[in-house]
């Protein structure tokens, strides 16, 4: 189920240069994910991975409204969040391949990328597992008296986890600057959320008095405008917010889920009409902010950067044996 979208906020528009930057970030995520899929299918990547394709407008729309020193927590489907918050392609790929040059020295892999320099407190393999961490970062911001914010990304499946509700309650009680971003892609693994989530999604947060709204997660302009409002509000001590971003994962739950028997090709085709990249491209062209060649050049540049990053990662070395018991304790 998609929550009914609330009306668009007054758009706080970026200038063209920033929209093109957002476009580049979205293309970067799309290309990264397509490449990760290729690495999997050609048996060049260990394990499996969860692709963010189709949901790019959310990570980029939110992160473009954040500062470098703001925090995010991410999920098993986390590459988009990490890149949107500023992660480098080469160290991302190196981590996916289990190399020492990776963000986590090969220890974390696809599901656990963390990068304190860009405020990424870590992706999480436990559904809903970062609700407490993001809220704790909000607590720390309040105690340290800064004007940072903390964004908690999670899927609609995490609505099943009690920790989320304990956390939101405290965030509202203590007016913590935490933005809870529910990426409602309709499914948790192979089960549609109409079978797992009773009642209203936004109602779960508004019951605590948390500012809550549902928005179109395919349209980066809506996501970004909404994000700016709730983030500014949180910076000024206005407390937490909860955004349900309606979206769809265009691929399977993970790279190995190719048959997708739990959903119809028709449903997928409907959502494909609302590809977040195409929506932004169409708008940029129609509003005459960019010509087709400009967008194509961006795509080409990203493609080259991704290819270079993969080459870097494939050439990088595996961690040495002595790495295995380092970092168990600080």
């Amino acid at each position: 189920m998609s929550e009914k979208n609330d009306s668009n906020p007054n758009e706080t528009e970026l200038d063209t240069e920033h929209w093109l930057q957002a476009y580049e970030q979205m293309v970067k995520i799309r290309t990264f994910e397509e490449t990760a899929n290729d690495l999997y299918t050609s048996a060049r990547m260990p394990g499996i991975t969860h692709l963010y394709i189709g949901e790019e407008a959310i990570a980029v729309g939110i992160c473009e409204a954040l500062r470098q020193d703001d925090y995010i927590t991410s999920t098993h489907r986390g590459h988009g969040h990490c890149l949107a918050k500023g992660a480098d392609l080469d160290r991302m790929f190196a981590e996916l391949l289990g190399k020492e040059a990776g963000y986590c020295r090969g220890k974390g892999g696809s599901m656990h990328i963390a990068d304190q320099e860009t405020g990424n407190l870590g992706a999480n393999g436990i559904v809903g597992g970062s609700a407490g961490i993001a809220t704790g970062a909000g607590m720390s911001i309040k105690l340290r008296g800064t004007d940072q914010v903390s964004v908690c990304f999670f899927g609609d499946g995490a609505l099943g986890q009690g920790l989320l509700y304990e956390s939101m309650n405290m965030a509202q009680l203590w007016k913590l600057p935490v933005i809870y971003v529910c990426e409602n892609n309709q499914y948790g693994e192979y089960t549609h959320n109409s079978k797992t989530a009773a009642g209203s999604m936004v109602g779960r947060a508004s019951g605590f008095g948390v500012h809550a709204q549902a928005i179109d997660g395919q349209d980066i302009r809506t996501v970004h405008a909404t994000a700016r409002l709730v983030i500014e509000r949180a910076r000024k001590g206005g407390g937490p917010a909860f955004l349900v971003c309606n979206t769809y994962r265009f691929r399977g739950h993970h790279v190995g889920d190719i048959d997708r028997p739990y959903r119809t090709r028709e449903e997928e085709a409907e959502w494909a009409k609302r590809d977040p990249l195409t929506l932004l491209e169409d708008w940029l062209l129609k509003s005459e902010q960019a010509e087709k060649q400009v967008l194509e050049r961006i795509q080409q540049e990203v493609k080259t950067a991704v290819d270079d990053a993969v080459a870097f990662a494939e050439e990088a070395s595996f961690p040495s044996e002595s790495e295995v018991d380092r970092h168990v304790y600080a």
Binding site: G109, M111, G188, T191
Partner: protein, 345 residues
Amino acid sequence: MSTLENGTRCSPAIHAPGERQITFGQAIREAIAEEMARDENVFVIGEDVAEAGSVFKVLVGLLDEFGPERVIDSPISEAGIAGIGVGAAITGMRPIVDIMFGDFTTLVMDQLVNQAAKTHYMSGGKLTVPMVLRTTLGASRRSAAQHSQSLHALFSHIPGLKVALPATPYDAKGLMKTAIRDDNPVVIFEDKMLYQEKGPVPEEEYTLPLGQADVKRTGEDITIIATSSMVYVGLEAADKLASIGISAELIDPRTTNPLDSDTLIQSAKKTSRALVLDEGYRQYGVTGEIASVIADGAFYYLDAPVKRIGAMNVPVPFSPAMEDLTIPDADDVVETAKAMCAGDS
């Protein structure tokens, strides 16, 4: 072995000619289906257990056979479904709660440890919790630290819980059936890497008692006690040891709680050496408990200190280059056993 390959540490299953061969996964499924047919109070609840037949495809077909009232897809609410399991069990049902990865059992700790394990005792024997919690263990799938742990020692520590960790299809079916019929909460750990392993399972119905070890191979010089997938590592090691003239006996306790101490001690007395092998973290784990049971019971018969091999005391790393170092393999066992038999351990 290529470092990219997902781990392949299982030797071929143990064969007994003439018998029907089914996989470990099929054995689990059969046990559950038979018990559901036998007792209408048995039901299954968990994430993606019904329509998808579980993420490891172990439960495929149960939904068609028993319907959505008895094979229930739940939200991603581990604590919630465990709690529902406890409450339903106390009031007459026999729930099977499915926790996809053993790592997620940390989310059900209160319901299992403080509620399920203690209800019978605290109520002075009035209430019972006949519930099964089935989950997984085992690394080597390149799944990193939150999807690879073997946490059975945590539950083995708790009075009031029973813990089974079958290694073969035969044991899996027999132990699962008994667990479902048991009037206590039983946690079953299944190794994710074993689901496709085939082994002999008779057509006729049977059950296996909880608390009875199984001798998987007889030998004279050293006893290897191994659990779950480590049984195969132990057997591979026993083959290698045989080729250098060391005869190893391999015993699988099959349940860690209750633990069949007698069988372990008798074997150690016979061979005069014991080596314990388990995929849990080595520190404060199953190997420590079993080693102390043997040291206690067979001390005067031993020619070497009891040794133990477990997973390295580190979170399971993602990179294949590191992950494989953390899990015991046959060579580790051979080296340790050789040293013990040479008297230089």
